[in-house]
């Protein structure tokens, strides 16, 4: 009976991908751990820094920023950056806001993304994907140097503390 539990087939990553990841990991572990020593002085400086950063947050907010990784876009289904708010990741090439939004729009139209649903929804049954599912207003922000598309208007990025994506 255990053998009848159909787990999905194995997936493999490319040799070159494993090589890149493996070499990067090897370099990290050979460099040793990042040590965090919290001294009284460091704590005081840190506390002061937080206060300054908090007071200056509005001034320090970066309104627009380009992406540094032009290949991946995170399509969110809610206005938050937690894992539960992420629908799925997909690919695009140009780094342009319109293309990032277009990449996510196609997934919304296909019903793969649905408002407030954390996990992207797989297609039910065979046949072509639908193209007529509702698409909310979308906005592209920059998150850790990558494009992140959220349901909402341009102010959504500011509310989330993220720069609006610009090319």
């Amino acid at each position: 009976m255990l053998d009848d539990l159909q787990v999905p087939p194995l997936r493999t990553t490319s040799y070159s991908d494993r090589a890149r990841q493996g070499q990067a990991l090897a370099q990290l572990v050979s460099a040793g751990p990042v040590r965090r020593r919290v001294t009284r002085t460091a704590f005081a400086v840190g506390t002061a820094s937080v206060l300054v950063a908090t007071m200056g947050a509005r001034a320090a907010y970066i309104a627009f920023a380009p992406v540094t990784d032009h290949t991946v876009v995170h399509c969110y289904t809610a206005q938050g950056t937690a894992e539960k708010d992420l629908g799925t990741d997909t690919n695009y090439q140009s780094g342009a806001p319109a293309d990032a939004i277009a990449a996510c729009t196609s997934l919304w139209q296909a019903g793969v993304l649905q408002l407030g649903k954390a996990q992207a929804q797989p297609q039910q049954g065979p046949g072509p994907l639908p193209q007529d599912q509702p698409v909310p207003a979308l906005v592209a922000c920059t998150l850790h140097g990558e494009a992140a598309v959220f349901p909402g208007d341009p102010l959504t990025c500011q509310h989330l503390g993220l720069p609006v994506l610009k090319k």
Partner: protein, 216 residues
């Protein structure tokens, strides 16, 4: 995760032939002085760890991050390593079990290092179809997880190692740090409990504790 054109998944580029000829045990012994030995171990076992993490999380995206965390955690706990017939894989899967179980803490611990790793690439001729396939996989894996949800954690671990990762009893025993007889009895109980679950109806009608359980 991002995508690259398909066709490169099986190609092995020239690497240090000497390292490739070494057993896991010999490679592990070299990792202190020779970072490429650690990279070779990753090359060998990354996919097995990746698939194991997927079966535990039902998320390919999470499995990619956890795969790296497993190797970072293995390095952190390197003095605890247990080899089985010169293979490090059973122990890596045991580390994976623990990493998945304490996922939030493990991710927090290694977050800084994870951010310094290159983006993972997936080979695909048709990225959109590949994305849909991955979603289907995840939905199917969630169904399987629901089906085994009534098993104890120990039974689920044995199931994942012996049935899905295809470790033999001795290797699974090394991974779990228990006698071979315990592995056999846990697997036997897992089969029995699944049979009972099927006879009694859908999951949830006859709940069983999801942790604990006595060993043979």
């Amino acid at each position: 995760m991002t995508w690259e054109p398909g066709g490169s998944s099986g190609h092995r580029e020239p690497v240090d032939a000497e390292l490739r000829s070494l057993t896991d045990a010999a490679l592990w012994a070299r990792t202190g002085e020779e970072p490429t030995a650690f990279a070779e171990l990753f090359q060998r076992h990354a996919d097995a760890v990746y698939n194991h993490c997927f079966r535990k999380t039902a998320s390919w995206s999470a499995a990619e991050d956890l795969r790296s965390v497993v190797f970072l955690e293995a390095w952190r706990r390197r003095t605890d390593v247990r080899l089985h017939e010169d293979s490090i894989l059973p122990w890596l899967l045991a580390v994976a079990n623990n990493v998945v179980r304490t996922r939030a803490r493990s991710m927090r611990r290694h977050r800084a290092m994870l951010q310094r790793l290159p983006v993972s690439m997936v080979s695909a001729d048709d990225p959109e179809a590949e994305a849909i396939d991955r979603l289907h996989d995840e939905a199917q894996m969630r169904r399987v997880q629901a089906a085994i949800g009534g098993l104890t954690r120990a039974e689920q671990d044995v199931l994942a190692l012996c049935v899905w990762a295809e470790l033999d009893y001795a290797a699974a025993a090394v991974a779990l740090g228990v006698p071979v007889g315990t592995v056999k009895s846990r697997l036997s109980r897992a089969r029995q409990h699944l049979r009972q679950a099927v006879e009694e109806g859908p999951p949830g009608q006859s709940p069983r504790a999801s942790t604990g359980g006595s060993d043979a």
